[in-house]
Symmetry: C2
Subunit: 241 residues, 2 copies
């Protein structure tokens, strides 16, 4: 451990942290991964002990290539979840002079989307917990605002990025996809119109898993067609819903 007061500067420097809003989807609701503060190893963590908070932590000035790397490293340390730094999309910087009672701390908030079914096993239940987005308790620091902002950002980005496909399993059904869109955009769509429009983009391909579809009650399974999506994206478009 470093000796106290080892790092000196001519002018005061703020501490910098990266926080992560990790969204998942269980087929019904949008979920968020939270940690309980003060249960970790870090000695400097003395504020908001016991409260729920977003995973995140201090930038390692010498090792973290970018704050996205900080986000990835801290997320793994605090929740067990291993994500690449590339999966973090920046939400914004929170720099209010009083946002941390201990010292001046500026945080760069990120969000990431995960396939809940594939990562739920990796999350360290001792430290972290998945909350339904609607049931999130009040959080430490300004994390309530960060969470709201991250959700808004997700809501905006759904028009430009295939966020639905990052949250759903590889293979999914149209009703699942529609449900997810409705959860994020907080609206309801007509089933037929949604299907028509989605099919019109030609970014879904049917998956034949051998299961015979006797009636219409068993939904058709689809997979995201990344090639067509990329082609569409290159030609400049927008997913309108």
């Amino acid at each position: 451990m470093a000796k106290k007061g080892q790092y000196t500067y001519e002018y005061p420097h703020p501490a910098v942290t990266a926080d992560c809003v990790v969204f998942g989807y269980d087929g019904k609701e949008l979920k968020v991964l939270l940690i309980r503060r003060g249960l970790e190893k870090e000695a400097s963590t003395t504020a908001y002990v016991g409260e729920w908070a977003l995973p995140g932590g201090f930038l390692d000035v010498e090792k973290d290539r970018t704050v996205a790397h900080t986000a990835a490293r801290e997320l793994k340390e605090e929740t067990g979840l291993k994500l690449s730094y590339k999966e973090f999309k920046e939400v914004g910087t929170y720099s209010d002079i009083k946002r941390d009672p201990r010292e001046r701390v500026i945080t760069v908030a990120h969000y990431a989307l995960v396939k809940l079914s594939e990562v739920q096993a990796d999350t360290d239940a001792e430290k972290a917990e998945w909350f339904a987005f609607g049931d999130v308790p009040s959080l430490a620091f300004d994390h309530d605002k960060i969470l709201r902002d991250a959700f808004s950002r997700l809501k905006q980005n759904i028009h430009f990025e295939p966020v639905g496909f990052e949250l759903l399993p590889e293979v999914f059904t149209l009703p699942q996809l529609q449900n997810l869109y409705e959860s994020i955009l907080e609206v309801k769509f007509d089933r037929r119109n949604f299907a028509n429009k989605m099919k019109h983009y030609e970014i879904l391909s049917e998956v034949d898993d051998g299961t015979p579809r006797h009636g219409t009650r068993t939904p058709i399974k689809y997979r995201f067609d990344k090639e067509n999506y990329d082609r569409l994206k290159r030609s400049g478009f927008q997913l309108e819903f």
Copy 2:
């Protein structure tokens, strides 16, 4: 001046700066305000001396309430332009470990929109210069990328915010507005369709400045109708172009 090495921390802290991309519009082209590095007072400014760069500077840990305040303060110091911190929209955080050769510096980039005709007189020509967006020289640090990203952000935000009206004079003409939209979105519109659509939003009000309009050659002057715009915004909409 502070004594060297006065500020000590248990762990290394990065320096934090705020940079500003200030966009203006002269009726023909989008413009950007740049400064030449090394001509200022700051002693620590030893990198990229003589090169063009975005205005910006170090967060004052004790005084700047947020990084937007830093941006506003530094912009005034470096270019003479007085903007409120509220006018800065965040573009993103640039934190690459090698982005500043001197020490680890993380910057939060912002953009702001100004009415060129109203502020050109305020800009300190000794230090700062307006460049056509297309003719910007290569910049210090990673400011080239920041500038590109700020422009992309502006391009996106034009769909959600009345950016045109922040860049044009109070009173403007439809061709001017169209030209601005075309500059930002990098497309061409049909004059009639543009006028129809814009009128349909009912956010323009004709200005009668007494000048008799003999023919159609003298364009009609408009003013931005903020009330109607706000009403429209509250009802959830999007400026589609």
